[in-house]
Amino acid sequence: MKRHLLSAADLTRDDAELVLRTAEELRSLADRPIKKLPALRGRTVVNLFFEDSTRTRISFEAAAKRLSADVINFAAKGSSLSKGESLKDTALTLEAMGADAVVVRHSASGAPHRLANSGWVRSSVVNAGDGTHEHPTQALLDAFTMWRHLAPQSGGSLDGRRVAIVGDVLHSRVARSNALLLRTLGAEVTLVAPPTLFPVGIESWPVETSYDLDSVLPKADVVMMLRVQRERMHGGFFPTAREYSRRYGLDGRRMATLQDHTIVMHPGPMVRGMEITADVADSDRSVIVEQVTNGVAVRMAVLYLLLGGSQPAVSTEGLPE
């Protein structure tokens, strides 16, 4: 693995499968009376969140603490950032405190890349979501969830499995990271959205695209619904919420067209009634709650593989110095 996890494209297939296997071992920790391992004792992980997040921050915090790391939470609100401090000065502060890893979420695409490659900090940088760009640990936990449900029936891999990712692809860092990672793992990804919600340059992504949800669903092994990110929308991407919901929402009628083994996923937060109806979200096919559980195991695996040894595991790339 590289020293930083900035993009799902940083992971080779070997790296990604190592993360999945490690997460599988770490998942059983949740069933033990003492949910703690000593691997990162004495290491410091800083959660640097410039953008609101509950699930991801708590998940990273739980992951780091279960590995016995010291965790410093750093939220934009109530910090010097609201007083006008720059990313660079924040980074220099973290460096002076001796952080071993910085988990960063930022509303600007590329902020984690800047942090990792500017020479401001020596720590490993983990991208926890940057703007509309990437969210690699979400992709890993999604892949892990699919792998647990589907790989046992297909020889331990996701080769040839069909994944439909439906909704606001334009604003979704989850969709981009998933598309890249799932391709690496051998799955076939189809993105489904109205034409206005595909980003420019979608042709260059390693995916198929479709505007018609009903034709994609019967072939899918996994259906992943995305939230419509209205806070990032400044314009009319679709006429009304009801029309969007009717054409691109997953309801009971559409769920009935799925294959028996197909699972329904959602990275959260869900808007029930918009992209997914309550009966689908609460059905047996839904693995949405499991995704959250798996998130902790996957983030533990990432932190362990980056920080646990003298250098990151399976160095397939040249390391600095």
Partner: protein, 195 residues
């Protein structure tokens, strides 16, 4: 074994000396199984935990033998010690190996740790720490196929397949069916390198 028979290949190849073959290993495990039962006064409350990778097939074979003597199965599992190693920080991050604790847990039971080679004792130290995070056994015992000496910690085995005096430059290699293609314990090194 005379290493000078084929000077050309012997110089290049490992000077491997087989010290236990398949039937030796089988007999040693049968004896260990009986010793465990004798010491424990039967198989009740026993849990066998193999340390991956080669401790696991050894634990399974001991469990088979105990089952054939006592007539009931004893719980077998595995205990990965990777995250408890004292040299974790000195090498690149290692892949984890399976930990499988039997359903009944280990609280109040007698846990027999099973490993292939007992050497510095550091693996067992790590395993004892790992056990402490999983539960509180009534007692912990240690069974090893080979004890090669050179302890760096005050740790000893309760059940030993073979005591094998070695020098520090030698390497003891255990191969087991299931993980490898053959059952054998061999010593590599020493005399080949211009002794």
């Amino acid at each position: 074994m005379p290493a000078h028979l084929e000077p050309e290949s012997a110089a290049a190849a490992d000077t491997a000396r087989t010290v236990m073959d398949g039937s030796d290993i089988g007999r040693a495990l049968t004896r260990i199984s009986h010793e465990i039962l004798e010491r424990n006064k039967g198989g009740s409350d026993l849990v066998l935990l193999g340390i991956p990778s080669r401790g696991v097939p050894l634990a399974e074979r001991i469990a088979e033998r105990i089952a054939s003597v006592e007539g009931y199965a004893v719980p077998v599992g595995s205990l990965d010690i990777t995250m408890y190693r004292d040299d974790l920080r000195m090498k690149p991050a290692r892949a984890l190996l399976p930990t499988q604790i039997p359903n009944g847990g280990i609280d109040g039971r007698t846990v027999v740790l099973v490993d292939d080679v007992l050497f510095s004792g550091r693996t067992i130290r790590a395993a004892l720490d790992a056990l402490g995070d999983i539960g509180r056994p009534k007692a912990v015992r240690l069974a090893v196929l080979v004890d090669r000496g050179h302890r760096e910690l005050p740790i000893r085995a309760d059940f030993v397949g073979k005591n094998l005096p070695t020098s520090l430059v030698e390497r003891v290699r255990v191969r087991l069916l299931g993980v490898d293609d053959v059952d054998a314990v061999t010593i590599l090194g020493s005399e080949g390198e211009g002794a």
